[in-house]
């Protein structure tokens, strides 16, 4: 073998490897503890532009789901509630000192606020269940080709995760096909 053809083979090997690595290497996965009835009352949480949101909601409604109007922004984020006075009071400049009592207080305040935040969200979900009559919360994140789209279904009666799926988006997928794929697996139809 000449050095040129040897070099050619190496280049081809490297390019093939790069191509294979660049394709989504993540595997799909699916877990379902039971199938959702197509006439269930659901709220869909998705962070996208309104036209994409509408396309997703229409896909669910076409299948018979009773879709309640809940927006992702309704579940406020931690950034909004994290600004608390106790932390501000502790914000001395301690960069040159090793004062573990202060560090401990910092960390513990943060931990308590994470617990408190999760509790507030849980109370809000309970409210969604009781007052808006939503049975399932469906979270969707739709990604482009080479990435992984995912879905998660929360049963608001048992307060448990009933369904999860990771779906590596394929080249021919679009918003409708990915949503229909998830609906198919959520309902088992």
């Amino acid at each position: 073998m000449t050095p040129v053809s040897h070099l050619k083979k190496i280049v081809i090997f490297i390019l093939t490897s790069i191509f294979l690595i660049s394709c989504s290497s993540k595997k799909g996965l699916i877990y379902s503890s039971g199938k959702l009835s197509a006439n269930s009352k659901i709220a869909v949480i998705i962070d996208s532009q309104n036209n994409i949101k509408n396309a997703v909601l229409i896909s669910f409604m076409k299948q018979g789901f009773r879709v309640k109007a809940v927006n992702a922004a309704d579940l406020y984020t931690m950034k909004d509630v994290y600004d608390i006075s106790d932390l501000k009071k502790l914000s001395y400049n301690l960069s040159e000192q090793d004062v573990s009592t202060v560090q401990k207080s910092y960390d513990n305040i943060y931990k308590l606020h994470v617990y408190n935040f999760e509790l507030s969200k849980a109370e809000y979900l309970k409210q969604i269940r009781a007052e808006w009559d939503v049975e399932y919360l469906i979270l969707l994140d739709l990604k482009e080709w080479e990435k992984v789209s995912w879905a998660r279904v929360i049963n608001l009666r048992t307060f448990e995760i009933d369904f999860i799926e990771n779906y590596p988006t394929s080249y021919n997928d679009n918003v409708e096909t990915i949503t229909e794929h998830f609906i198919q697996n959520i309902t088992g139809k």
């Binding site: 573990s100 009592t101 560090q103 401990k104 931990k111 994470v114 617990y115 999860i164 990771n166």
Partner: protein, 344 residues
């Protein structure tokens, strides 16, 4: 000639590897203080640390230093002097000249029905943190069993993995998981637990985006339960907030508020946390809170697990390595469902 050289080189490398893996941890022991007023138990103050030290040396090849060899702890008991309780804030000073990786000390309290409760503290030299846990057992008949059990705990805590276990987590349990991964990665983590039969509370999983990065999840690295904790050494001296008649009403009020913050979040943190856990328990039937912290590359993780029925710390483990999130999660589940390595 060449093959002989390679042969010698191979033997040399093998010996070097063996000696590296056989590197012994070293631990120094302080006295275990009798917390009761019953002086007839004082004899255990020396016997307990010496027994732990001997077990670690004989069974686990630890290099050990017994309390009698530590100058700072020398007390003339014959002259009627009492052994002093070691304050955590003095650990840096006490261990300064001790040639050991860990310093282990504690206390005990005799209980009814011939039982004894021990509190064991493990301090890694050069750090600002202490791992503390409690063990209860019978005196006399089962004291050797208790010593062996505690020695196993010490051996597992006093190393890089910092493994502590106070039971296992059954696969029917409902878990609330807090972690620093999101989206499809979080689904991969949930999948392993769900496939293993666990129920998952949607805590954190009810959002599209994750809330915590590595720095934020690491605030949970120090963790406290009613039976055990890995905590920062705290000292009132760190936060002496001087005030007096000279300071004025407004300043006095500010100092008083600051003091309340330190009381609530540092000195009495366990009470504050338990109040919060009570609210969580009243809301949802969660059995365990699991904190899983991944590093930036998601190639290693640490875990803390708290039993919400009794607020006990059940598991700690650090440096759980794997090729992917599902691989690491499988290892975490294995750790949660198996007893301590080497436990009796």
């Amino acid at each position: 000639m060449k093959s002989r050289f390679l042969h010698i080189l191979f033997i040399f490398i093998t010996l070097a590897l063996i000696s590296t893996s056989a590197h012994a941890e070293s631990a120094a022991f302080g006295f275990f203080i009798n917390e009761s007023s019953n002086e007839s138990f004082d004899y255990l103050e020396k016997i307990l640390p010496n027994s732990f030290a001997s077990t670690l040396k004989n069974k686990y090849n630890y290099d050990i230093i017994k309390p009698g060899r530590i100058p700072d702890l020398s007390v003339d008991v014959d002259a009627g002097l009492k052994i002093q309780i070691i304050k955590e804030e003095d650990l840096q000073r006490i261990t300064e000249d001790i040639d050991a990786d860990y310093f282990i000390f504690g206390s005990f309290k005799p209980l009814e029905e011939n039982k004894i409760k021990l509190t064991i503290s493990i301090f890694r030299k050069g750090t600002t943190s202490v791992f503390q846990f409690e063990e209860t057992g019978y005196l006399e008949t089962e004291i050797f069993k208790l010593v062996d059990r505690i020695a196993v705990q010490i051996k597992n805590i006093a190393n890089e993995s910092m493994i502590y276990k106070n039971g296992t987590v059954s696969s029917k349990s409902k878990l609330a998981i807090l972690t620093n991964i999101e989206g499809d990665d979080l689904n991969s983590l949930y999948y392993e637990f769900l496939a293993g039969g666990y129920k998952i509370s949607p805590v954190q999983g009810n959002e599209i985006y994750g809330l915590m990065d590595v720095e934020q999840i690491n605030k949970f690295y120090h963790f406290t339960g009613v039976n055990a904790s890995y905590h920062y050494i705290h000292s009132r001296k760190d936060v002496e907030l001087f005030h007096g008649t000279w300071s004025g009403v407004e300043y006095d009020k500010k100092i008083s508020d600051d003091k309340k913050i330190y009381e609530r979040y540092s000195f009495n943190y366990l009470d504050t946390k338990n109040e919060m856990l009570k609210k969580i328990k009243s809301f949802d039937a969660i059995d365990y809170i699991i904190i899983i912290g991944f590093d930036d590359n998601k190639s290693t993780a640490w875990i803390r697990c708290l039993n919400l029925k009794n607020n006990k710390l059940v598991i700690t483990e650090t440096g759980i390595a794997g090729s992917s999130i599902d691989d690491i999660t499988k290892k975490i589940i294995k750790s949660m469902t198996t007893d301590l390595p080497g436990n009796l």
